[in-house]
């Protein structure tokens, strides 16, 4: 009786109603409209079955978007988490310069992706960009590339920018976990003769495992949803070489094929769901985890 009076549904409802109307409803909507020939004015004349999905999968111009999304998500996650872990251990050494490095690392994370990406179109400029200038300066001209206009490497170039921007986030996550490891644990391990690599391998890593798993899932989701980075760096080009699912949705949308765009967005929905469930199952669990 007390509960009903003091914890009222009317208090819970405003937020939840907005969530249901503007997030849940459109998600269910995509399940429905993905199977129609919805046009630019949002009217549809018939159900087309799986036609939208087949078009998306069969056209090589479209299919590359799915491949690229997966490459981007897994590649950037691998480096962001890997480098993040290394840098966190490094920064935790507490040298004079690492304190400075620590605040430096987080700086790109707060900037807008659009601003960073536009600045990087200058850094990756084939003739005058700083990256190629640097490679020529150290006499490694053969490594200098047209980073954003070469079909073969464009996906790796955009991944590089994403890694530059977001590694700081996983550094901060790992660092917080590292600093929460009680000193007694590492000290007693040291007394038992575990130093350097051994202490890292048997003490630090197992205690970092939960954060490790979280940041993998976090970065994978972020990578699968990538949009603004690609739009600002390449616009999906050259040709379709750096298209991802979200740019494909935008392309279909601007061409007035909303049925197809909705189908693509439904595929992204399923892909994220599938990968998160898979990864959650595959990630190593440790007995210290509750």
């Amino acid at each position: 009786m007390l509960r009903k009076q003091y914890y009222r549904y009317t208090m819970f409802l405003p937020g939840f109603a907005v969530f249901c109307l503007f997030f849940v409803l459109p998600s269910f909507g995509s399940f429905f409209y993905g199977f129609t020939n919805l046009d630019s004015g949002f009217t549809f004349t018939r159900f087309v079955g799986f036609e939208n999905f087949i078009n998306l999968m069969r056209e090589p111009d479209n299919f590359i978007a799915f491949k690229n999304t997966l490459i981007f998500a897994f590649l950037t996650t691998f480096f962001k988490v890997g480098l993040g872990l290394l840098l966190a251990i490094f920064v935790n050494l507490k040298l004079k310069t690492t304190l400075y490095l620590r605040s430096m690392l987080f700086f790109p994370v707060i900037l807008s992706t659009i601003a960073v990406s536009l600045a990087f179109t200058a850094m990756l400029h084939p003739e005058r960009g700083i990256l190629n200038e640097f490679l020529r300066w150290v006499h490694m001209d053969f490594l200098a590339q047209s980073w954003l206009t070469n079909r073969e490497i464009v996906m790796y170039s955009v991944s590089m920018v994403e890694i530059w921007k977001y590694t700081g986030l996983s550094v901060i996550l790992f660092l917080a976990a590292l600093q929460s490891i009680p000193k007694e644990v590492t000290e007693s391990a040291q007394l038992d003769g575990a130093t350097g690599w051994k202490s890292l391998r048997h003490i630090t890593f197992p205690l970092l495992l939960p954060v490790f798993n979280t940041s993998i899932v976090l970065h994978l989701i972020g990578g699968l949803k990538v949009f603004d980075l690609i739009i600002a760096l390449t616009g999906g080009g050259p040709g379709n070489a750096s298209m991802v699912i979200n740019t494909l949705i935008y392309k279909s949308f601007t061409q007035g094929r909303n049925g197809e765009a909705t189908a693509a967005s439904f595929i992204l929905f399923l892909l994220v769901l599938f990968i998160v469930l898979m990864v959650n199952r595959l990630l190593p669990k440790h007995e210290t985890e509750r």
Partner: protein, 272 residues
């Protein structure tokens, strides 16, 4: 030997720092050059420092004041609405904890992971005549941030004992008073976290306004810099000045609240 190793590590730290710093430096330094010098995209100092000219020019042609206004309105409305809705929802979800609310919690987890279905969202707003309005976009932000931030609040409410509620109830407080007068003042740390997460999310967002505010006088800062680049791609000095100007508000925000931002985002990510 010891000091040698230390020196090497210090050098590595400097190198990594410069990988991050150099693009930032190039952006800033080239924003002070004239068009011909900036086209070089290099590290050199400008021969003549155009400290204000470029910025003044961009300020006017990129319509920065208008964009700043739009970004501020969206962020302000969004943050207030999110804190209000998520804290109240979370309170009821955590205190009631029946079967219905356990299903709601499952929905929240799904909402954190899954992407927004942008086309059908556009369709919905179109039907409600909310496309290209601040209210429409704010509602989208509320919906996309709802699951994550409500979840944060729920875990915070676990730490506020029910005895607190009961004591206030015995003192004869009403249900509004219970939340707003007794509970809400205890939420300061989590409100700060929610504010920071929502602020960063909305201020830097590009996708939602790109689809839903696609009309020149509703552009946000991220949109103006994108379209400005499209029209002035060869005038690098102006493009860089625009990038710097668009980034300044968030940089100021970061410099003042650095400690809170770092701990807020960490707490958010780890719990999520």
């Amino acid at each position: 030997m010891r000091s040698w190793r230390k020196l090497i590590l210090e050098v590595i730290a400097v190198i990594i720092s410069s990988i991050i710093a150099i693009p930032l430096y190039i952006t800033v330094i080239n924003s002070f050059k004239n068009q011909a010098e900036a086209a070089d995209l290099g590290l050199a100092f400008p021969t003549y420092w155009r400290l204000i000219e470029n910025y003044k020019e961009v300020f006017i042609i990129a319509k920065i004041p208008q964009a700043l206004g739009n970004s501020s309105i969206l962020t302000f409305l969004g943050v207030i609405a999110i804190i209000f809705c998520c804290s109240t929802s979370a309170y009821i979800i955590q205190r009631r904890d029946n079967r219905f609310f356990r299903i709601v919690q499952k929905m929240l987890i799904a909402g954190m992971v899954l992407p927004i279905s942008i086309i059908t969202t556009y369709y919905l707003l179109d039907t409600l005549h909310l496309v290209r309005t601040h209210i429409g976009v704010t509602l989208i932000y509320m919906a996309t941030c709802y699951s994550f931030i409500t979840y944060l609040y729920i875990s915070f409410f676990h730490g506020i004992p029910r005895e607190m509620d009961e004591a206030a109830i015995i003192d004869g407080i009403g249900h509004h008073g219970l939340f707003w007068k007794v509970i809400f003042p205890l939420l300061k740390p989590i409100n700060a976290t929610a504010l920071i997460i929502a602020f960063m999310e909305i201020w830097n967002d590009f996708t939602v306004p790109f689809y839903l505010l696609n009309t020149a006088n509703r552009f946000t800062l991220s949109l103006t810099v994108y379209f400005f680049f499209g029209q002035h791609a060869s005038e690098w000095n102006l493009v860089f000045a625009d990038i710097v100007m668009v980034s300044l508000p968030i940089i100021v925000f970061y410099l003042f609240l650095q400690r809170y931002i770092v701990s807020g985002l960490t707490a958010g990510a780890v719990k999520g």
